[in-house]
Amino acid sequence: MTADKLTKPPCAAHRALRMGKRRALAGLMVVAGMIPAGCVSVSAPDKPIVIELNINISQEVIYRLADDVRQNIDKNPGIF
């Protein structure tokens, strides 16, 4: 029987020693990088939320609707 068969397979911590310093360091950095990514910190904004308006509307459409929106105000005075 050879010594190999009696020895337990190396665990992750031991493997680092076998991999050499550089690879172990790389491995540590990967693990370290994962820790902050795992926790999400949520804090309430102290400023009012400003809704960014994406004004993706053509001048042509605005002019076409201009009359209708004015009439709409007169027809629905309760909601405007």
Binding site: L53, N56, I57, V61, D68, V69
Partner: protein, 133 residues
């Protein structure tokens, strides 16, 4: 006798319907702003936003926030309807409506300027999006 009472009943019903129609119809037809809404506008607690909806200016009591939501639900319903008829998108209609609503603010009322900040309407024309007609 039965016929008479039927006729009387019909007359009464008609009168009642007319009265009900008047009392229900009058506010619907000549409905202006709700007094609470008008007061909030005049006090600058609510203002007209560029997107066509009403906004609470800064932190306001719950009652004002509820008022704003109630108005905006109705506006959105109205815009959806109008946009469909005008073959426009909801946002296109709402923004165009916003242009008109900001133009119609009266001095003392609040509106949202193109930079996103609230402004008080003065006697001068309001600051509006360059695309506004």
């Amino acid at each position: 006798m039965a016929q008479f009472s039927n006729r009387t009943f019909a007359k009464g019903l008609l009168g009642g319907l007319l009265l009900a129609g008047l009392s229900l119809g009058a506010p619907v037809l000549a409905q202006g702003r709700d007094p609470a809404y008008q007061a909030a506008r005049s006090a600058g607690q609510v203002g007209e936003m560029m997107d066509g909806y009403l906004g609470a200016v800064g932190n306001q009591p719950d009652a004002i926030d509820r008022l704003v939501s109630a108005i905006n639900i109705q506006r959105r319903l109205n815009y959806t309807d109008r946009a469909q008829e005008q073959h426009a998108t909801l946002q296109e209609y709402a923004i165009t409506q916003g242009c008109a609503l900001i133009a119609r603010t009266v001095p003392g009322e609040k509106y949202q300027a193109p930079d996103g900040n609230w402004q008080s309407r003065t006697a001068s024309p309001p600051q509006r999006l360059s695309k506004c007609p």
